[in-house]
Symmetry: C2
Subunit: 243 residues, 2 copies
């Protein structure tokens, strides 16, 4: 009987291949089994980051989300549908590790920071050896792109999801020195309103496709009336103590 293979959750960073860590780069280039999530019918952002890096004979395991925004998150069918999906993915990966093969799972950003890999991790960690390689987050690329440090001195930094309700967004923004809002797209108008209600709208930046070829950096107030892609991040910088 062969020894159980290891699963590597590999943080790829924000989007540019050379912002992957040296450890991630080595794992990606040497991998025989490469799994990644994607929306059905798309190439997938994680897979795109490693274009040209994979072994010629690497087996690719595309895990296609059954839903993304077609069912509201609040609908019980959303959770049931995704839960079944993650169980299926787990079984596919177990088929390989039970046969003694290692598998890398490509993760955008950092695997343990709002990532889909976490749902596989919790289902597998008691049965299969798993190693997680942290990565540069999309938010680090976003604030770097603005050309301004995000936090100074004792600044409080808060990370918010655009999917939170408007009142929570506004209260958290008011209590933070610096903040970042992720999971934008159709939530952007709600985020604009929350920013207005706490007087931070004019200080907000919108970064689209941070560290990717189509990166843009604009003041949020100059993008009124335009939709934002999923890979958008809103950044408000802190103004804390500095010598």
């Amino acid at each position: 009987m062969s020894e159980t293979g290891t699963i590597y959750g590999v943080g790829l960073g924000p989007g540019a291949a050379d912002l992957m860590s040296v450890r991630a780069d080595r794992l990606v280039r040497g991998a025989q089994n490469v799994a990644f999530f994607r929306k059905a019918g798309r190439a997938g952002q994680a897979r795109r980051i490693v274009d040209g890096l994979l072994c010629e004979d690497a087996r690719e395991i595309a895990m296609e989300y059954p839903v993304t925004t077609e069912i509201p998150v609040s609908d019980p069918r959303y959770n049931a549908c995704l839960s079944e999906f993650y169980t299926d993915c787990t079984a596919r990966l177990r088929g390989l590790t039970d046969a003694g093969q290692d598998v890398i799972v490509l993760c955008e950003g950092d695997p343990f920071f709002y990532g889909s890999f976490m749902h596989l991790y919790t289902r597998l960690k008691d049965d299969v050896p798993i190693e997680v390689v942290p990565g540069i987050t999309g938010m680090s690329a976003a604030w770097t792109a603005t050309g301004q440090p995000i936090t100074w001195g004792d600044d409080v930094l808060t990370v918010l999801m655009g999917t939170l309700d408007a009142a929570t967004l506004a209260a958290q923004m008011a209590a933070a020195d610096a903040f970042v809002v992720m999971k934008l797209g159709r939530t952007l108008d709600k985020v604009r309103n929350a920013l207005r209600s706490c007087g931070r709208y004019d200080a907000a930046w919108l970064i689209e496709y941070a560290a990717m070829p189509d990166q843009t950096v604009q003041r949020l107030c100059e993008t009124e009336g335009r939709p934002a892609p999923y890979f958008s991040i809103v950044v408000v910088h802190g103004n804390g103590r500095r010598p």
Copy 2:
């Protein structure tokens, strides 16, 4: 007259050399001028990360803090003393860039996330070409080391400095789903009290030297009475929505 050199603020990540990005690794290995901060009399953590990677003939520019914890941050002399120090450092780097040479500045973690490099950046950015390479943060390495994802679903994540006052710490902790506390050391007892006051003490983890050779991961409540080193991070995980 030679063209002005470029300054690169290079995020080295949390401590392991192979958690540096491929871009950072390439810049470090090719650099002729390598500047870094350190406490007087110490090797310096940023310099230690690149041990064995520098060119043999690289010029090393050690920038030694005139104070770290000898003067309280609240004392006006603290700011005056550091301000003069950063002005001196700026002049040293300008001496090289004015002569047409590039300089890399080694930065632990991510340069724009509570980093000393920011103080050089603001003083230089209008006069010298500067490029910033984001890095994996120490907090990413810390939560990865705990073997538990930091955030799920819509969890609010807040980043706090141990140097904040006790009331602010407690209020911010109570309002967050997940949080991270940095700048520990002599502030740790205050942080323990804030955690107790909001009922999160038993959920807190203490990670010392994340991603470094001496890494330790413990429940904070099991470290009572012991001091923590500066390179310590407290992590409390979120428990948000998951399918």
